[in-house]
């Protein structure tokens, strides 16, 4: 039993660190640490820097322009990026659609769409959830009716993260009405500029515009944009969801957030001493730190178990639940640390509030999403119950 990385893995980590030291600007890293919203250009710029080095598609096989890294290398890479304050890689094209195309797409679709994900030609959005289909995704009712060389799409998608930046959206649509729920669903690639598509922002409780809803009325989509077989899209949908849950523990992100929290708590006065020394606060902090240290090893154990490559199975549901709980708790502690200064909405520097914690409260509210999206934590418990416990 050996908890340490091999010399080769350590050398790899150093290479990643050296890359980050050169390519990641301190200003951008600061913005990420402070949980500020990034502009489209900033996100695309980081993608381009990674792509130039050949590291954008960390989990893709080499033949499609990926790195061919082992799961351990991927984990090291993701952790180092998070610790350095790198922006997160936008997952919709790279982590969601990419693997689906590789598995189910035609040769022409792979040749055309995959390079465009890498070079940033396309920004993809995810068209899964609907007003009537959340956790019960298969209840979706957006329809696509065949009309010659086209499908005609009608319906509505929602919770479309960063859809305002997207020029393309992959959608689950119902192509057969009278079939059993999971049957009769198809996987379509839709150009956002097609007539009949309207995107509206949904302003969330943190007053931010991250989320959208997308309306489709008589939107004509070429049949060539069908991925996999008609009415067999649920297979693609499920496959995509397993990828959505990789790196779900977010150990690197939580580690970085915890270091940030300690830095802030050391600056905040409490009874004339730094808040970090307050016994109650210290106890809350220690609990989540220990939880994270345990989770780091749990994450590595799951990685080691899938060392052959591919996505982890139901174990990733455990990592999703605990990972999001830890992340939410760290965020809650940062809000708590600010005391009365957690209340002002303005991100300007205020007398006592450390500038780098200005977004703590809105981020805390924004992070309620973590236990809701990607399959709510309750859905994950259902998966554990069925797949691991056999209940």
């Amino acid at each position: 039993m050996e908890l340490c990385f091999t010399p080769e893995e350590l050398a790899f980590r150093d290479t990643v660190r050296a890359f980050l030291a050169v390519e990641l600007s301190p200003q951008l890293a600061d913005k990420v640490r402070r949980d500020e919203h990034l502009s489209k250009a900033e996100m695309e710029g980081w993608h381009a820097a990674l792509n130039k080095r050949g590291w954008l598609a960390a989990h893709w096989p080499k033949e499609y322009g990926g790195t061919g890294w082992s799961v351990v290398q991927r984990s090291i890479f993701e952790n180092e990026c998070a610790l350095a304050g790198a922006p997160r890689v936008i997952p919709f094209g790279l982590s969601m659609l990419g693997p689906v195309l590789m598995k189910f797409g035609s040769e022409a679709q792979k040749q055309y769409w995959l390079p465009r994900i890498l070079d940033g030609s396309d920004w993809w959005a995810q068209g899964y959830s609907e007003p009537g289909a959340g956790s019960d995704l298969a209840a979706l009712s957006t329809t696509a009716v065949r009309d010659g060389d086209h499908y005609v799409v009608n319906g509505q998608k929602t919770w479309t993260t960063l859809g305002q930046h997207a020029n393309m959206i992959f959608c689950l649509v119902r192509t057969q009405r009278d079939a059993k729920k999971q049957d009769g669903i198809s996987f379509l690639l839709v150009d956002m500029k097609t007539p009949g598509i309207v995107l509206r922002p949904i302003i969330m409780l943190d007053e931010g515009h991250e989320i959208n809803e997308v309306f489709f009325s008589d939107v004509r989509v070429p049949v060539a944009n069908l991925v996999g077989e008609e009415n067999r899209g649920w297979t693609c949908a499920k496959y995509l969801l397993t990828y959505e849950r990789t790196n779900i523990a977010g150990v690197g992100n939580s580690t970085a957030a915890l270091a940030h929290l300690k830095k802030v708590a050391a600056k905040i006065p409490n009874n004339g001493r730094p808040l970090l020394e307050d016994p109650m606060f210290a106890a809350r902090l220690a609990r989540v730190e220990i939880e994270l240290a345990n989770m780091r090893t749990t994450d590595l154990r799951v990685l080691a178990a899938v060392h052959g490559g591919g996505a982890p199975g139901a174990e990733s549901s455990m990592l999703k639940i605990r990972g999001t709980q830890v992340r939410q708790e760290i965020s809650a502690l940062l809000r708590r640390a600010l005391g009365p200064y957690a209340q002002p909405l303005s991100a300007e520097a205020l007398a006592v509030r450390p500038d780098e914690a200005a977004n703590a409260t809105v981020t805390y509210f924004n992070y309620r999403k973590l236990s809701i999206f990607g399959g709510s934590n309750e859905i994950q418990r259902n998966i554990i119950s069925k797949m691991i416990l056999g209940l």
């Binding site: 220990i290 418990r381 416990l389 209940l391």
Partner: protein, 377 residues
């Protein structure tokens, strides 16, 4: 990175588990815990014959294991079997202290501990000390060439069954100072040593000790005068790894038993495991147990490291052990309902052991506070 056990340790775990299954079934165990000695001398020799005690000692001390991973493998299996034999106090704590501090003549005892012919108890905790390992009020004074001990020791596991006690006493320093603590070898029948034995909630026995002018020869002192603290901390650290692994084994069995019950027990015409309220509690418990396994792995990895990181990781593990062990015990009883509280069902005994482990070598709160304090040093 490799989470696989070595072939030797896999074999050790398998042979120990098989032995426990065959020779230490629940009925046998329950008879042993109610016996006057609180453990079985016969089975103890059989464990020794299997090499299990020797697996807890380094080769340099006459054993054939002794690494942190060996402790974890053995105690996880003991936890699964709910074994009450004196592995911890005798082999890990008392034996570990003798092995580390003893001179050539004193170390000869180790061979007898390993072959099962002698049993030692670790008499360190005191009525006023709670979980602090540096708080030693028992005094040792010079008496001619030898020593005279006065004081009291609390909840010494297997004290009545031991023929030798390793007793801590102070020769100098404040009552809670790490400096000035000594360990002495005290034969069981030494005049002035009085034992008040009692059964434990989770089975087996312990005793409170009174030492009144207990007179010992010079050769009774282990190591240099006043310098035993580092060794006490070291063997207690090994004890923490052992208890964490034991807890992991016990909670795994409790989880399996509860899962089996959820699949078979029917109410409202269906297995109760089909109810989402219970499924989600099981899912949460599973996550906690996986976190506990990681805590054990972290503790094993840290045990041979430098003191600061080592002790902090050990406290993190024992904190996790207390928190998760108690949760698993309470949840498993609740998920069983009334039957989970019966003496007849092994589960209730696992639950008791899981909670009582939190009361050995420092509980959840003690270790959380210690983790925080160590982080400031």
């Amino acid at each position: 990175m490799n989470f696989e056990l070595s072939e030797e340790r896999k074999m050790l775990a398998e042979s120990l588990s098989r032995f426990i299954e065959l020779r230490y079934p629940f009925e046998v165990r329950n008879a042993i815990v109610k016996s006057p000695a609180g453990y079985s001398a016969d089975l103890w020799r059989e464990f020794a014959g299997l090499g299990i005690i020797g697996a807890l000692f380094n080769p340099e001390h006459g054993g054939y294991g002794g690494a942190a991973a060996d402790l974890a493998v053995v105690f996880e299996a003991l936890g699964r079997g709910l074994v009450v034999e004196p592995f911890l106090g005798n082999a890990v704590l008392a034996g570990g202290a003798i092995a580390r501090l003893g001179n050539a003549s004193q170390k000869q005892i180790i061979a007898h501990i390993i072959d099962g012919s002698r049993v030692a108890a670790f008499a360190h905790g005191e009525p006023q000390a709670r979980y602090e390992i540096a708080r030693v009020a028992t005094r040792a004074e010079r008496a001619g060439d030898g020593w005279k001990l006065n004081g009291a020791k609390a909840v010494v596991q297997h004290a009545e069954g031991a023929d030798l006690l390793v007793v801590s006493a102070r020769t100098s320093g404040a009552v809670d100072a790490p400096d000035g603590i000594c360990l002495f070898l005290v034969p069981a029948k030494t005049p002035g040593l009085a034992l008040r034995g009692y059964p434990l909630v989770d089975g087996g026995r312990a005793a409170d000790l009174t030492l009144r002018d207990v007179t010992l020869p010079a050769a009774a002192l282990l190591g240099a005068q006043g310098e035993a603290f580092a060794t006490i901390e070291e063997v207690v650290g090994r004890g923490i790894v052992a208890l964490c692994a034991e807890s992991l084994g016990a909670m795994s069995v409790a989880k399996e038993a509860t899962l089996a019950y959820l699949r078979t027990r029917k109410q409202f015409g269906v297995p109760i495991g089909t109810f989402q309220a219970l499924q989600h509690r099981m899912a949460d418990m599973l996550i906690e147990i996986e976190q506990m396994r990681s805590a054990v792995i972290n503790a094993v990895a840290a045990l041979d490291g430098e003191r600061g990181a080592r002790e902090r990781t050990l406290s993190a593990a024992k904190y996790s052990c207390g928190k998760i062990g108690t949760l698993v015990a309470e949840e498993c009883i609740q998920l069983h309902g009334g039957i989970g509280m019966t003496w007849e069902l092994p589960l209730s005994h696992y639950a008791k052991r899981l909670v009582m482990i939190d009361h050995q070598l420092g509980d959840e709160d003690y270790h959380l506070a210690r983790y925080i304090a160590l982080g400031r040093q």
